[in-house]
Symmetry: C2
Subunit: 266 residues, 2 copies
């Protein structure tokens, strides 16, 4: 049974001073607790669905795991515990809890909280050397493909989307979530579980804006090209330039801006 | 000197297959380290400006401080440390660091990370009993007032806005940020510093969507009415209903939806 992405409720619609009692749908937001074995390590507010991919993607983009071989088992969510996913690591991969807590306390990659040192912001990573090139004409097609797949988006305007495209411009994964970081983690978790990482001939597209966070997650997946419908932040641009990633913004119709890595656009 | 909200950089604009070298502006995103005395307790990715309000608002909505009287001094950002603000608490208000770390580890109110227990999600708070009423005609005027004040928004589409309105529909504070939670924290920090809390005859308006987080922050400020241009999440609606708050969504032109607390709309 699929998780409900939207739920109905009674609302009052007001138009031109008149009140109407109606049913309306809102996007589901629920906490997901991610456990490493039996230890809770994070809770994220997410739209239910693809929860195992979200948990795996979170651990991957946080630097806790690096390959599907690091995972012994992923369990949950269960009917009795619908908001918990547990990832068991391979024997030999051990984290002492103290170290883990410090890790999350200092580097949990979130736009709002959790980092205690500026030094923890810049991820330790190599620039992306992929010689992957993207034709302008292919980029033009991405927003339409995203929209076609993203049936639910039009419905309430309440979900962020992230999609991974291959070099032919075909969508490999589309994931939606109330949290835009979650949508990206779901995509990266799916790709990791299917052994597609490094994603060095792929394009990550997001429905909104690009932040430092989004670029950091794409970098961990070794994705050379990130495209967005809206604007990037200054730090998203800085990260893209530092790590030789291509960053496209305002991709709408037959227009876009290239903020970094134009050598990949042909 | 005001902090730059936007910075210019070289981009390549692509239109109908033609490339143009141009200058474009992007919204500034920089980390802010918030310290309690000398101890770093959080880093948030924010748009510089109103940093003291952001630090105070963060501590307030996280439940670390409850009134301006809890603060002995707010220092920074300094030219030598442009991304650090330190809040010194009044003598007698002491937090042992272990407790503080656990607090942040378990309840840091973020959409993406930092919570380790589902039980920590629901804030401990009383329902809002304010008898404040809002005329439909006044609600209609808010988006236009927000837009008038929000000059920068149209420019890049890269900033979230939050505004606090009084009962006459006048804007008391408008704050913009790459992070929508930061925009709300800046507004609440400003209100706390000016001794306006509890904000029981006020309206909080946000330029985007409403999440559980946003409602939780409004609840801490005791704001009875929250209005948004876009949709709420299921948990935003649930929190509003549980704590007797009025939640308005899709406020555009002469239309809106009431998701909770319709008794305040007259």
């Amino acid at each position: 049974m699929a998780d409900p992405t939207f739920i109905s409720g009674k609302i009052v619609r007001v138009t031109e001073g008149q009140l109407f009692n109606e049913e309306d749908q809102v996007a589901v937001e629920e906490p997901l607790e991610i456990r490493l074995g039996n230890s809770p390590i994070a809770v994220t507010m997410r739209t239910p669905g693809h929860d195992r991919e979200l948990a795996v993607g979170f651990l991957f983009t946080e630097g806790i795991i690096h390959s599907p071989d690091d995972i012994a088992a992923v369990t949950g969510p269960h009917r009795s515990l619908p908001n918990v996913v547990s990832v068991k690591l391979k024997r030999g991969l051990r984290f002492d809890r103290g170290r883990l807590k410090r890790h999350f306390y200092t580097t949990s990659s979130c736009g709002v909280c959790g980092k205690t040192a500026l030094q923890a912001i810049r991820v330790k990573s190599q620039p992306i050397s992929s010689g992957f090139k993207v034709p302008v004409a292919l980029l033009y097609t991405l927003p339409e493909r995203l929209r076609e797949e993203q049936e639910t988006f039009e419905e309430t305007g309440a979900l962020h989307a992230a999609a991974l495209f291959d070099e032919k411009g075909e969508i490999l994964y589309l994931r939606e979530d109330v949290g835009r970081h979650n949508a990206v983690d779901k995509v990266l978790g799916a790709a990791l579980l299917e052994k597609r990482v490094p994603l060095d001939r792929h394009i990550l597209m997001v429905s909104g804006r690009t932040s430092f966070e989004i670029m950091q997650k794409a970098l961990v997946g070794r994705i050379p090209v990130v495209a967005a419908i809206s604007a990037p932040s200054s730090l998203a641009v800085a990260l893209a330039r530092e790590f030789k990633m291509t960053l496209v913004g305002f991709l709408r119709g037959r227009r876009f801006n290239v903020y970094a890595g134009r050598e990949r656009i042909v």
